[in-house]
């Protein structure tokens, strides 16, 4: 419900005929400080009053205007609330607006003193006024950037209490206006206000359409905090990024990860492969934890939900890529996404919020006529990578002196053998290059299609949103598909004047099939790149396994997921409100893996065929209860106190069965003859939290907040000690201070700072040593045995992340251009390190210990605005970027911990003083001294000790998003990404060279000296140095064109909105990285710090068309 209508409704609470103010006047304290300004009532002020009592509103007005307002305590009711958000208004107009329809009017006793009095016992004067009002204003409010209608916009007639609120179609109507010149102003959070001056004539309805420009500086944007209470952005000392899916070109994004990608500074989405349905890595302000998950927490409509980005990793057997539960979310049904970037913002989330929190609010209805929206989308999905051929070359044999042996032809002559005693000299004319993928193209013409429909509407006391969407994507492999069907039903009800409730229900059906690739012997890329250079009967594919053959290998994950939440907001008094939120996220997941018999070579092993079936039920229960007490300590100082509790239980029940020797023609485990597997995986983690916060607000301009959360958790295998997480924040909207100098062009300024702590816990049972059951044969009988399933350190505690941030929000030219800058410093102490214990201690186990310290510091900068805004042409530009310095300050181990791929051992390590997961290797230099175009072993000079080469994740990332709009009908948008300051391991090429021996740098005389040297380095000097590459890049991530049907065309049709969008994703990449793509990573299961390309499918190109219609 809009705010101004509540102003108009005030009269209902007035006790008509109450004694006049003269009988018992109250002079408010602010009166003592009143100025002597003779014309105080004509002073122009700014007001931001939202949902406050009329008495509070008058107190603020006294303060701002420097006047004293007196009135009878019986004259004004306590309960009614008013809202008034205006940038400039005279004091007298503000008074009239606030008092409209109350039956009370101001009487000026002195230039700075006003009293209120009842006007008429019968209200006849109001009736009289109505008789002179005859005009009306109607119109439609749209988003200037997208052309879409904006619901819930307050449209006010400046200087009066007349107002209207737009419905779901963006339309409004304000009737009963007096003839004359008025100003029509549209206000909505997230948009710059717009004002239009018109002249109203008697008996005429004037049309005023308004187009609002989105604004980044949204000081009054409403946030939902961890307690479920609402809070305005201006009240918090930390920056919160908001993404509104409606402002994103929908066909350019396939899933929730795409929606987040490149939209908010400090939020990094790494597209790990081009596998349809595959997971992306989500990081906010770098990597907090060495060994724990670095994924942010995910909250939907107030309840915690499964945020596993490696879901199904253990039971799909894909070789690397997995499914992310983040991508279960349907962008179509999201209203907005708010991103809390770290402990400074997320302390109240306790032992869970250290990596930041992504708070999703789904769509809700708006009172008014039912508004239908539908869309249809179709597009192509194409492999855009050119894969290299396999090489072969013959040579002339060399004797022990390096001299050629006439007639001695050596098949398969490595380049590095040239001129080597006992080696061979390659014969360039014998070079063969053959690509198995040319003979048997493995890729299919992928496609994506999406259809959806939604209806939203309702009445003042009950609104609804109903939506259904179906997304279907066929990847570039025949056995790579993702289908997602989402249903949503959201209801909100105003049960009474002080009680409202909401119910949000979501259902997902996901059917995903992933191909083999990455670290799998049976991936198409591996079968081709490690195959042979001969178009033989196997067309060069490794082990004669062709793409058609391996496409019979099925890895599938089916999920049915139900997410339901309910909330009750209770406002029994002006000073107390309570919120209760509860919900459940239930996922029923079935992973299947099936390899038919006799598909792969060998009558044993994989040739027998294999099947596994895994069933998981994942429950996440959330219950929050909080109460907030608000008091005005003085006329300028407001106190808000909140207490709350939270309960979260994450429960998992899992069963996996498997076997080999599958009966041909079936996929059933029933006929399995060997290699039986039957395991269960059950766990329960419970977290109890209590929290309290205290906010002091000075004149709605200065806000100081302190908060504290305490947690107990069962995560470690036993109840932990109570852990405390404090939080402090300060926000000063200094630009609204009366003394703040008017700087030309600067329209708003806020300074902010925040400090907070949050934690993260390890997984189930990780503080305990336990035994797991297994089977073993003895005396010819299979018996049950026990083996250590995991070791744990008894005195484990959560790791604590402490973050301090500060920054400013600047608006220029009435916030048409906005700048947000934030500097942060976050340190994780007692960092939980999965200590790779010396094998002699526990057989190479990992034991969690609180040993390390990790620091992330950097800055975030966002700039957004309409640089050119004329009626025929508009140019919007958004630039956002961040730099993050990640450093493992303390490891706490006797030696670095090694991990990752590498032909000569692990190429990454945890090492104090460097970024977490830093790459290192023995360096070398090379020079073609004899100028023969071949790098021989003696032309490479290797160092003696490994050196640090760089961290695995970008230090900096910048996004440039220009948008051009012509005549409001054609819009062209694009997104460019720049990332730099990181390294990646091109293990695809290294593995290929050292495994199959048919690679470019090993056999092709035309190969670059660099790639030849990499082979020599790996073979002769046992270093992976040549394959650890700088993976900085520029990516043209998105390109879109939107055609908006002119309204004049639609008048003849039963359609209110129509637009067509064309979008291309993954348009182009510029990089010096020599692998397939600088972003990809071979394994989601090793995704914490691995950035290795290992036979991974690179990103594919999407070209999509979409039609959106509104009715």
């Amino acid at each position: 419900m809009g705010s101004l209508p509540r102003v108009l409704a005030l009269g209902a609470w007035l006790a008509l005929g109450a004694p006049l103010v003269a009988q018992s006047p109250i002079t408010l304290a602010a009166n003592q400080g009143a100025t002597n300004e003779p014309d105080a009532l004509n002073r122009v002020i700014a007001l931001r009053l939202e949902d406050v009592t009329l008495r509070d509103a008058l107190r603020v007005l006294e303060e701002r205007a420097g006047i004293a307002i007196t009135y009878s305590s019986d004259a004004l009711p306590a309960m009614p609330k008013v809202s008034l958000v205006v940038d400039s208004i005279t004091v007298s107009d503000a008074l009239r607006l606030l008092l409209h329809d109350t039956g009370v009017e101001p009487v000026v006793l002195a230039p700075n003193r006003v009293t209120l009095r009842l006007v008429e016992a019968t209200g006849s004067s109001r009736a009289g006024r109505r008789s002179t009002q005859s005009g009306a204003v109607v119109g439609r409010v749209t988003n200037r950037a997208t052309g879409d209608p904006i619901p819930a916009v307050q449209v006010v007639i400046v200087g009066t209490s007349r107002s209207g609120v737009t419905g779901s179609d963006g339309r409004y109507r304000i009737a009963s206006l007096e003839a004359g010149t008025v100003q029509v102003r549209a206000l909505r959070l997230g948009f710059q206000p717009q004002t239009r001056t018109i002249t109203i004539a008697d008996g005429v309805s004037d049309t005023v359409d308004l187009a609002l420009t989105p604004s980044v500086v949204t000081l009054d944007q409403v946030l939902v905090n961890a307690t479920g209470q609402q809070q305005r952005q201006r009240e918090t000392g930390n920056v919160v990024s908001t993404i509104t899916p409606d402002s994103v070109i929908q066909p350019a994004v396939a899933n929730f990860s795409d929606l987040l990608n490149s939209r908010a500074p400090g939020v990094t989405i790494v597209q790990q492969s081009g596998t349809t349905g595959g997971a992306s890595r989500i990081r906010i302000r770098g990597e907090n934890s060495v060994s724990l998950n670095n994924d942010p927490l995910l909250v939907i409509d107030g309840v915690r939900v499964d945020n596993n980005t490696n879901s199904a990793s253990a039971s799909m057997y894909t070789g690397g890529q997995t499914v992310s539960r983040f991508d279960d979310l349907d962008p179509e049904e999201i209203d907005d996404v708010q991103i809390l970037k770290g402990p400074a913002a997320s302390a109240l989330y306790g032992t869970a919020g250290a990596n930041g929190v992504i708070v999703v609010t789904t769509k809700h209805g708006v009172p008014g006529r039912t508004k239908w929206y539908t869309h249809a989308e179709y597009g192509s999905v194409r492999n855009m990578t050119t894969y290299p051929p396999n090489y072969f070359i013959k040579g002339i044999g060399l004797d022990n002196n390096g001299a050629e042996i006439p007639g001695d032809t050596v098949p398969g002559c490595y380049l590095f053998s040239k001129d080597q005693p006992g080696g061979c000299d390659p014969i360039p004319s014998t070079l063969i290059a053959f690509n198995p993928m040319d003979a048997v193209p493995p890729f299919v013409a992928g496609y994506r299609e999406s259809y959806g429909i939604s209806a939203a509407g309702g009445r003042e006391n009950l609104t609804y949103y109903l939506g259904a969407d179906d997304y279907n994507e066929q990847g570039v492999y025949i056995n790579n598909r993702a289908r997602r069907t989402n249903l949503r039903a959201n209801f909100a009800a105003q049960l009474s004047s002080d009680l409202n409730a909401a119910v949000n229900l979501g259902y997902l059906q996901s059917r995903i099939a992933l191909p083999q690739n990455d670290n799998s012997l049976y991936g198409v890329i591996g079968l081709s790149l490690t195959g042979s250079p001969f178009n033989d009967a196997c067309h060069g594919f490794y082990a004669c396994v062709t793409p058609r053959t391996i496409s019979q290998y099925k890895s599938e994950s089916d999920v049915d997921r139900y997410t339901g939440s309910g909330s009750i907001n209770f406002h029994p008094t002006a000073w107390f409100s309570g919120v209760a939120t509860g919900g459940i996220d239930f996922g029923d997941r079935i992973d299947g893996n099936f390899l038919p018999a006799s598909v792969l070579p060998g009558a044993q092993g994989a040739g027998l065929g294999r099947a596994t079936d895994a069933s998981y039920q994942l429950f996440t229960y959330t219950a929050n209860l909080s109460g907030t007490f608000k008091f005005n300590l003085t006329s300028s100082l407001r106190s808000t106190t909140t207490f709350g509790t939270q309960f979260v239980e994450e429960s998992r029940r899992g069963f996996l069965g498997g076997g080999a020797g599958i009966v041909p023609g079936t996929a059933s485990l029933g006929g399995a003859t060997t290699q039986f597997t039957a395991t269960t995986s059950d766990s329960d983690i419970v977290t109890f939290g209590g929290l309290g916060s205290q906010e002091f607000a000075w004149r709605d301009e200065v806000f100081l907040t302190g908060a504290l959360r305490a947690d107990e958790s069962s995560a470690f295998g036993k109840p932990t000690d109570l852990v405390w997480y404090p939080d402090f924040s300060a926000s000063w909207v200094i630009g609204e201070e009366s003394w703040f100098p008017r700087v030309p062009g600067v329209s708003s300024l806020r300074l902010r700072g925040a400090y907070g702590e949050s934690g993260q816990r390890p997984g189930f049972l990780q503080a305990q040593t336990f035994y797991s059951p297994l089977a073993e044969s003895k005396d010819g009988v299979t018996r049950g045995g026990l083996a250590v399933g995991g070791y744990g350190f008894a005195n484990l505690k959560p790791e604590i992340s402490r973050e301090i941030e500060g920054g400013l929000d600047l608006g220029f030219f009435k916030d048409r251009i906005t700048v947000t800058y934030t500097q942060y410093n976050r340190t994780t102490d007692d960092a939980l390190i999965l200590v790779p214990e010396a094998p002699s201690v526990c057989g190479g186990c990992g034991i969690f210990r609180n040993l390390g310290t990790v620091n992330n510091n950097g800055f975030e900068l966002g700039l957004s605005g309409a640089l050119i805004d004329t009626r025929p042409f508009r140019f919007d530009l958004s630039v956002s970027g961040s730099e993050n310095n990640n450093k493992l300050e303390k490891l706490g181990l006797a030696a670095p911990a090694y991990f990752g791929l590498g032909a000569n051992g692990s190429t990454q390590q945890f090492s104090a003083g460097h970024p977490v997961g830093v790459y290192y290797a023995v360096p070398y230099t090379y020079k073609d001294a004899n100028h023969d175009g071949i790098i021989e072993p003696n032309e490479v000079t290797a160092g003696t000790n490994p050196v640090y080469l760089g961290g695995p994740f970008p230090k900096g990332e910048w996004t440039l998003a220009p948008n051009i709009t012509f005549f409001g009908l054609i819009r062209v948008g694009s997104t460019f990404d720049r990332r730099y300051g990181s390294r990646a391991l091109n293990f695809t090429e290294e593995f290929r060279c050292l495994s199959s021996g048919y690679c470019n740098g090993e056999l092709n005389p035309h190969a670059s000296l660099r790639s030849q040297a990499a082979v020599v380095g790996a073979v002769f000097y046992s270093t992976d140095y040549g394959y650890i590459e700088n993976n900085a890049f520029w990516k043209w991530r998105e390109l879109s064109v939107t055609l908006i049907a002119p309204r004049s065309w639609l008048r003849q049709l039963p359609i209110s909105d129509l637009n067509i969008q064309l979008a291309e994703r993954n348009v182009a990449t510029w990089t010096h990285y020599t692998g397939f793509d600088p972003e990809i990573n071979f394994s989601s299961t090793n995704s914490n710090y691995s950035t290795a390309d290992f036979l991974t499918q690179p990103p594919v190109r999407y070209l999509t068309m979409r039609i959106n219609m509104g009715f």
Partner: protein, 471 residues
């Protein structure tokens, strides 16, 4: 209104005041966290399994590979070779005799052996407390002793043996010389012997512990004592054949050698590897059973496929593997005779083994053919060693003959690496083959597995000790 406020406060207090400890107790239906008498049978079986995995390997690749000490030492010492189809670079490097501490596959088997050592020690400790007279106590002590034998025979001197304290913090061990490892093994076997001797059903375990003891004494160069101990084992159990059992039930229970040869086509039998390796194929010796895999149509037939010779010592995934046998005891006894100069006895014992073996020689084509053809088999008894190679041979030839006999009799049992090291250490020579199939390989003296890099997390560890520390 007051009632609303009061109600809200009561609700808040109720939630805050409830005792969360009940909910904070996690449910752990899948695991055991407390050890009691009822756990002993499971721990005993688990200890057997852990040793089996470490020694002969398993098929559970999802847990790191588990090639086992038999398999990895086999490709290191040219009993087997890594096939061109083997995509694991770490194994190919071992096959090329490039053994580095960072080798992931080496790390895997070191972890498995450490796990087995700790598992058998923990199980033994539970037996000591809960059932000190149980024969299972003796058996896990034997296996515990064998873990030290494998550490000493295959890994360089400098292996530390650490413990985990009750609270989960490490108690790092000091690096031990090979001799120190052998000494611990002796102590373990002695304890096992004492326990087994006290049980009327403990004859086999007693014999195994004696044979283990004899093997350690042999490693220590105490030949006479080794011979006497081996003889005592033979007396206790003339048909001794202590086996670790495999099963096709689960992949973890697979015979690891079978799995990595027949199951995965990663390893194959090799002949004269590097030119001077042993002639495991061309000798056509009935102790070395193999078959050209192409005959079974196991592999792709075109370019890119490989020729693999399957071993038939473990013909199925559930074939058991013999850890200690009367055969080995006889070989130890014979070597003691050889070292004592009692050549006739030495030769007699070797020939007795041949005569009693019942093995017949089988011939297979060594050329890959396709399609598969009928295997030709010519049967004849394993011939006796001639006087020219025994009684009339020079000492150096006798040594060569003896170690060849051991290599063939004990093929794929994880003894060849220890023998090659003994040849260098005790006989000042060896049959350490050279390689010519990969350019950077240099035949040398690095005939031991280096302790994996992970052990550097032990602050006391300083990589391999000098060669002189081997005894």
């Amino acid at each position: 209104m007051t009632k609303y406020i009061a109600g809200s406060l009561v609700a808040l207090l109720a939630v805050g005041a409830c005792n969360p400890n009940a909910a904070l107790r996690p449910k752990t239906p899948d695991v055991v966290t407390t050890i009691g008498p009822q756990s002993l049978p499971g721990l005993y079986i688990g200890a057997l399994g852990d040793f089996r995995v470490a020694w002969s390997g398993a098929g559970d690749q999802s847990n790191g590979g588990h090639e086992g000490h038999i398999g990895m030492s086999a490709i290191f010492t040219d009993e087997l070779t890594a096939a061109n189809l083997d995509e694991f670079i770490g194994r190919r490097r071992i096959d090329h005799r490039v053994a580095m501490p960072v080798n992931g596959q080496l790390g895997g088997i070191f972890n498995d052996l450490s796990t087995s050592r700790l598992s058998s020690e923990a199980t033994a400790s539970s037996f000591r407390t809960l059932a000190p007279k149980d024969l299972g106590f003796a058996e896990v002590m034997v296996l515990n002793g064998y873990t030290y034998v494998l550490f000493a025979e295959m890994w360089c001197p400098g292996v530390p043996f650490s413990e985990l304290k009750a609270d989960g913090s490490p108690d790092y061990g000091l690096p031990l010389t090979t001799g120190a490892m052998d000494t611990i093994a002796l102590r373990k076997f002695d304890s096992a012997s004492t326990l087994a001797a006290a049980d009327t059903n403990g004859v086999e375990i007693l014999a195994v512990s004696q044979l283990g003891r004899a093997r350690v004494l042999l490693d220590l160069g105490l030949f006479a004592a080794a011979g006497r101990t081996a003889d005592s084992a033979l007396v206790m159990d003339p048909a001794l054949a202590y086996q670790l059992e495999n099963s096709q039930n689960t992949t973890r229970q697979f015979n690891g050698v079978w799995h990595f040869v027949q199951g995965e086509n990663d390893f194959g039998v090799v002949d004269r590897k590097g030119g001077n390796g042993l002639d495991f194929i061309s000798a056509q010796d009935p102790r070395i059973l193999w078959v050209d895999a192409h005959r079974f149509g196991q592999l792709g037939q075109a370019a890119g496929a490989d020729t693999i010779y399957y071993q038939l010592k473990y013909p199925t995934e559930d074939a058991s593997a013999t850890l200690a046998s009367a055969l080995e005891a006889t070989l130890i006894s014979a070597e003691a005779d050889l070292r004592a100069g009692n050549v006739p006895s030495w030769a007699s014992k070797l020939n007795a083994l041949r005569a009693a073996s019942g093995l017949t020689q089988k011939f297979y084509d060594t050329v890959a053919t396709s399609p598969a053809v009928v295997i030709d088999t010519i049967i004849r008894p394993l011939p006796q060693l001639t006087a020219d190679s025994t009684t009339l041979a020079p000492d150096s030839l006798r040594v060569e003959v003896h170690f060849r006999e051991r290599a063939f009799w004990l093929w794929l049992t994880g003894t060849r690496l220890g023998d090659l090291r003994r040849l260098l250490r005790q006989y000042n020579g060896g049959q350490w083959g050279t390689h010519n199939d990969f350019p950077q390989n240099e035949p040398g003296t690095d005939i031991r597995f280096p302790v994996p890099v992970g052990e550097t997390n032990n602050p006391h560890f300083h990589q391999c000790l000098d060669v002189g520390s081997e005894s």
